[in-house]
Symmetry: C2
Subunit: 341 residues, 2 copies
DNA sequence: TACGTTAGAGTTATCGATAACTCAATCAAC
DNA sequence: GTTGATTGAGTTATCGATAACTCTAACGTA
C-alpha cells in the first residue's frame, strides 16, 4: 500500500510536503507541487482515511441506521440521506436493524467504534433509549428520524402521524364506514402510538364509537397478519374498513384477505401510511397518507451536519415535523351493504 | 473520547493489559481481567476502529457498490450481502453509483481511502474497466456481481441472461407472437449484451426473423421509455410483444403504453427480468425471468471473503452463474388479432 | 553591511491501538 | 539451593497522516 512516505522518497521531499500538497495547505512552490503530484499519480496514491481520521479526530462519515431496508419507505429515506450527505461532503454508512433491539445495539457499537461524525437513526422502539443514551455519553451527534423516543430530547424529523390518521379516518367516515379497525405497530414505537391517537381523535370527531376489540398491535413487518385478519373477520361485528399502521401491515392484510376470498375494497377497505413507490403498477393502489420519505433523509442529514458543525446551538434540539398528503387509491370504497362476511 | 490509556490509568495497569483484556489474548489473571472489565464498563469504552485498523492493516469493513439503490433487485442484493457479511464478522458499507461513471469513480476512491477489506461491485458499464484496474493496483480484493466487464478477469456472480432471454422469447413464441421487440439496456453493460444474444438465439430457434429496427437501447433506469414506446408503435409492423431489458424498463414501457391507451396484455405483451418484490400487489404482474437477488449478494460476499482470507487460490477467479426461473404473470397473452394498433 | 521578513521547506510529537520484546516473580525439580 | 520454565505483566516501536514548531536561504531595507 502506497503511503505519503513512498511519495516523499520518490519525489525527494519530506512527508510533510506531500501532506501539504494533498491538502493544499502551507506554502509550496509550484515546481515542488507539480513534482509531488506527478509521483502521486504514478504510484496511484490514495490517502489512508484511518491515519488521517486518527489525527484529525473525524472521519467524514455519517451513519444511517434504519429498521427495514427492504421497505421502500426507508429505501427512499436512504436515497435522500445519501444525496444530502454527498452534497455536504460526507460519506454514508448504511445499516439495518431489522426492528431488532440486539441488532440495533450491535450496529451502534460498530458505528461508535468507527468514530463516525454523526448518526441518523430510526429507533427500533422505546427501548432504544438506553442505546441512544450510550451515543449521548460518547458525544457523537445524532438525529432521530421517523420515530421519537420518550426521555430522549434530541434533533429529530418525524411525520405527522396524528394528522395522517385523522385524514384517513375522516375519509373512511366520509365514505360511510362506521366500524373501523386499527391494525397498528407495537405501542413500543412512537408512530404506532401517534397513529392510534389520531385514530381515536378522528373516531370521536366523527361520532364513531371506540371499541378496543378493534385495535390490534403487530410489529411493523407484515408477520402475523393472518392471525390479525382472522381475528377481525370473526368478530361479532366485523369492521368494514381498516387503518393499517404502515405499508407492510397493509400489504400483509391484503394478502390475508385475498387468501380468504375477501374482496378489497368490495368487502373491506384498507387505508395506511406511505406507499411502495411505482404507484402505476400496484393494484389495488392503497389509499394512503404519503409521507415525504426523501425529505426525511435529506432534512435529517441537514440537521445532523448543522449539529456537527456547531451551526445549531447545542442547547435547543431541532424538532421537524413533515406533513403527509392523502392520496386516494382503489383500496377503499363504500362499506359493504350486508354487515357480515 | 475514552481510550485504553484512560482505562489503564483508572485500573492502574498498562495500556497493553487493557488491550489484552479487550482481545482476549496473552496471559491475564482473572483478578486483573475483572478489574479492567469493570473500568471499561464504567467509562463506556468503545475501541477506536481507526487506531486498530491502522496497526492491523484491516478494517473488517466490506463495501457494496450498486448502480441503483431504489431498484428492488439491488435492495434485495443488499440484504443478502448484509446478512452474509454480518454472519462472517464483517460490516457493510453501502454505496450507490446511479449508473454514473463519475459517481462510481468517486465512490471507489472513497472506498479505497477507507481501506475496506474488500469490494462487491456492480460495474456501471464496460468503462468501469479502468476503475476496476485501479482497485487491482491497490491490491484490494473485489468481486463483480450482476455484470462482468470485458478485460477484467476476477471473481464474479452473474445471472444467466442468455438463458433467461431464451426462456422468455420461447414463451412468447409459444403464445403465437412472431414480431417481438427488444428494449434493452445499453450495450455498454454486459447483461444487455447477453440478453440481446439470448434474444437473437431464441428468435432463430423459433424460426422468427430478426429485424434490427425492433431493437432499442436505453439505459437501465426507465427514462426515455416514452420515445421507445412511440418508436415501436409507429413502426410499419408494430411488435405484439416486447422483451424489456430489466424491471425498470418494463415499468417505463407499461406506463407509456397506459398513457397511450394500449392495453397490456390485450394489445401488447411485455416480458422482462426480475420483479419488484411484493408480487401479490402488482397488476399486471410481469411475466419475468426472476433471478435470485438475495443470492447474488450472499454468494458475492462469500466469494469475497474467501478471497480475502486466502481460501481461494489467487490464480483462479471464481465465476458463478445463478439460474433464473420463468414466472408467468399477467403481462402476457396471445398476440392481438389485428396487426395494427 | 547588518538585520528583520518571508517563502519554502524539514523535524518532531501525536492520534489510539497492537506486535514483539522484555522483565520480575513464582514454582517445580534435581 | 541453583536452574529453568511459566505466569503475569510492562516497554517500546509502529501503523500513516497532520499540527505545531523549527530552520534556512533569499530578499528588502535603513
Amino acid at each position: 500500500m502506497v503511503t505519503i512516505y513512498d511519495i516523499a522518497k520518490q519525489a525527494d521531499v519530506s512527508a510533510m510536503t506531500v501532506s501539504r500538497v494533498i491538502n493544499n495547505t502551507g506554502r509550496i512552490s509550484e515546481k515542488t507541487r507539480e513534482k509531488v503530484r506527478k509521483v502521486m499519480e504514478e504510484l496511484n496514491y490514495v490517502p489512508n482515511a484511518m491515519a488521517r481520521g486518527l489525527v484529525l479526530q473525524k472521519t467524514g462519515i455519517l451513519s444511517l441506521l434504519v429498521t427495514d431496508i427492504t421497505n421502500p419507505f426507508y429505501t427512499t429515506v436512504a436515497r435522500g440521506a445519501e444525496d444530502a450527505a454527498r452534497s455536504l461532503g460526507f460519506k454514508l454508512l448504511l445499516g439495518n436493524s431489522d426492528e431488532d433491539a440486539n441488532k440495533e445495539k450491535e450496529y451502534i457499537d460498530m458505528i461508535l467504534s468507527t468514530r463516525v461524525d454523526g448518526i441518523l437513526i430510526t429507533p427500533a422502539g422505546d427501548s432504544s433509549k438506553e442505546r441512544l443514551e450510550t451515543i449521548v455519553r460518547h458525544g457523537t451527534p445524532f438525529v432521530t428520524i421517523d420515530r421519537d423516543v420518550p426521555g430522549i430530547d434530541c434533533d429529530n424529523v418525524v411525520g405527522d402521524s396524528i394528522g395522517g390518521s385523522r385524514k384517513l379516518i375522516d375519509y373512511l367516515a366520509g365514505l360511510g364506514h362506521r366500524v373501523i379497525a386499527l391494525v397498528g405497530g407495537s405501542f413500543d414505537v412512537s408512530t404506532a402510538r401517534y397513529r392510534y391517537e389520531g385514530y381515536r381523535e378522528a373516531l370521536a370527531a366523527n361520532d364513531l364509537p371506540y371499541d378496543e376489540r378493534l385495535v390490534l398491535q403487530a410489529n411493523y413487518r407484515m408477520q402475523d397478519m393472518e392471525a390479525a385478519a382472522e381475528q377481525l373477520l370473526s368478530a361479532s361485528s366485523a369492521p368494514t374498513a381498516i387503518l393499517a399502521g404502515n405499508n407492510m401491515l397493509a400489504l400483509g392484510l391484503l394478502q390475508s384477505f385475498r387468501r380468504r376470498g375477501i374482496d378489497v375494497p368490495g368487502q373491506m377497505s384498507i387505508v395506511t401510511f406511505d406507499d411502495f413507490g411505482h404507484r402505476d403498477l400496484i393494484d389495488p393502489l392503497f389509499t394512503t397518507a404519503v409521507q415525504p420519505a426523501y425529505q426525511f433523509g435529506a432534512r435529517g442529514i441537514q440537521l445532523l451536519v448543522d449539529r456537527i458543525e456547531g451551526k445549531s446551538s447545542s442547547s435547543t434540539p431541532q424538532q421537524c415535523m413533515l406533513p403527509n398528503s392523502l392520496v386516494i387509491g382503489s383500496s377503499t370504497g363504500v362499506p359493504r351493504s350486508n354487515g357480515t362476511l
